[in-house]
């Protein structure tokens, strides 16, 4: 599904990703952890196509196509979704109109007819229940005045509506109370299938109790320096990152 080889990226003059290798197969859930400033959010933004980053080397193959040649909107239409760490507030654009626009462009790209108004509303009803999002919120301006938890649930709602094959969750759990965390995790788990993959970027092991990953990776100084299974996350929670940093320095 996704193959990243020797990826190097920088913002302005600062090298952030320094030869990152990573592979995701259909149906897998990968967690990426790591200390602050290791490049986790950069990886998420680069995958989704944010133009602030310059790719200086390496390649990303998504469903056998060169992802780096695609604009952000084409990546989304191809089935990639990024749940933002900080969802953007857009006053005056209603949540509903925004989703209608996104869904119709995605469907047109995939050669599917647009949904009828009735079908669309049914889908909204069904998916908003999944994340227990109040009907009021779906009609309001996009993310405007939403609480932190509502914004994150809205990200998962959008994900459910747009039905991606690869979803990247960028610290979706940060700052959530346990109820909101459970709702977000349930939304993700309901979407899990042998065809869909998830990359979950997080600081905290707690999320991984709810979304159980197949693999856990540690990103440090722009590279994946350690990979394991969910037990690695528990170990990181207990011991912190210093032992990993020492291991890396020892190898250098």
């Amino acid at each position: 599904m996704l193959t990243i080889k020797n990826l190097q990226a920088r913002v302005e003059e600062k090298e952030i990703l320094k030869g990152l290798n990573f592979e995701v197969k259909p149906g897998e859930v990968h967690a990426i952890m790591g200390p602050n400033g290791s490049g986790k959010s950069t990886l998420a933004s680069v995958l989704a196509g944010k133009e602030d980053y310059e790719i200086t080397g390496g390649e990303i193959i998504f469903k056998e196509k060169n992802l780096l040649e695609m604009s952000p909107e084409v990546r989304a239409r191809e089935g990639l979704f990024l749940a933002f760490q900080y969802p953007v507030e857009i006053p005056g654009v209603s949540n509903i109109n925004f989703l209608k626009a996104a869904l119709s462009e995605i469907r047109a790209y995939r050669g599917l007819p647009p949904l009828t108004a009735k079908e669309f509303l049914q889908l909204v009803n069904e998916k908003s229940k999944l994340v227990e999002l109040d009907g009021q919120l779906t009609n309001r301006s996009l993310n405007e005045g939403f609480s932190g938890g509502e914004k994150k649930r809205n990200e998962i709602f959008q994900m459910a509506m747009l039905d991606p094959t690869l979803a990247i969750l960028d610290e979706t759990d940060s700052g959530l109370d346990i109820d909101a965390l459970r709702i977000v995790a349930n939304g993700v788990n309901a979407m899990r299938s042998p065809e869909k993959s998830f990359v979950v970027i997080t600081h905290y092991q707690r999320l991984l109790d709810f979304i159980v990953p197949d693999f856990v990776h540690v990103l440090y100084k722009g590279k994946i320096v350690k990979s394991g299974t969910k037990e690695l996350a528990l170990e990181l929670e207990e011991r912190g990152y210093d032992w990993i940093k020492e291991e890396v320095e020892a190898q250098a």
């Binding site: 604009s71 909107e73 989304a76 953007v88 857009i90 005056g92 462009e105």
Partner: protein, 422 residues
Amino acid sequence: METTIVNHKSKFLAIAEQTKSSLISALPLVVSEAQTALENLDIPTSRHEEWKYTRTTKLQNERFSIQKSSTASIDYRPFEALRLVFVNGVYNASLSDHEKIDGLSIRFDEEIKEQTLIGFDIASSSNFFEALQRATSTSALHIQAEKGAVIEKPIHIVHLIDAAQTLATPSIFVKVHQSASLEINESFISSDATASGLTIRQLWAQVDKNARLEYNKMQDENDLSYQMCLEDIQLADDAYSNFNTLTLNGGWVRNDLRIALNGKNIESNLSGFYLPRNKQLIDNHTKVDHRYPHCVSNELYKGILFDQSTGVFNGKVYVRKDAQKTNAYQNNANIIAGDQAVMNTKPELEIYADDVKCSHGTTTGQLDESAMWYLRSRGIGVDAARRLLTSAFINDVISKISNQQVAEFVIADLTEKNLLYV
């Protein structure tokens, strides 16, 4: 240099002379006075403060003339209304509706008697173009809502230009008597991409005590056109007016909206949007004059400037010494969407009363890049994302249009022009 200026001016003087000698002016009372004013005034240039960013050079090089009306039919009814049609600045009774409505009277040209114009300040002209309008007025229309008459049916004045190089200088008088209520919509359109000219439309409106006037002006002429709208609105005690200036298209557009709050407890709203493309120029000059206590004015103008277009906003608010307890708000927000687009904005508040609430704000920025990125990351293409953000930006101006059909027409028109996403 001197001679060229004189030559440009003489072209306009010749038209005025012709109007006078053929006795075709719709404002015969003021023709002589206006002609004298015209001779004494110069065509404003960028040296005049009021015309600093709005160049008249191109306009001066054109050769305009007053055209005979030629259109036999007009198929333009975008919403339900009593339609009144001007073609090339001349009122066309046969294209206009004649439905009788209780409490409403409509008169044009010779039907307008001298005494019906009492109270309208038609004699003075403060600049060359105003004098030109009064000296040549191609037609006059007088709309009156009688005391206490609530006119449910909206009026729709349509100005059609269907010939090239047309000079159209219509005058419109509106009188809303005490406790009456009236809605007027006004459209400026061109029959095709080449029919153009200079329109100078003067509106004089009196809104009497406790009366209400809703006014939606929709400017949608082609890119070759020059258009000037001069508006003088007088409001009496307890009156209400809501004036929307909706500039959908136009090559060179200048609006001078002057509102005088001549009484207590008046509410006056004025809003507008402008979305110039290509090399279009759109200039909004407004003046809100608070003269008495306990009045409210709300002003909101928003613009998105594309391509190499130019925008001008100049908003004057006067709060005179006696106008205590005034609430006056002004906001002008702009987005520069074109690499070479320019916006010139200038709020001017003069406050002489000490117990007032006044605020003004002006912003000029770019389309929100983080919003663009967020929309694109959801599969929405650049063009649609821009249109979504444009819709969001001008939505609060559109929401000032109280007639739902008119608001829907405006949205549909902008959508067809690929400016909005709905």
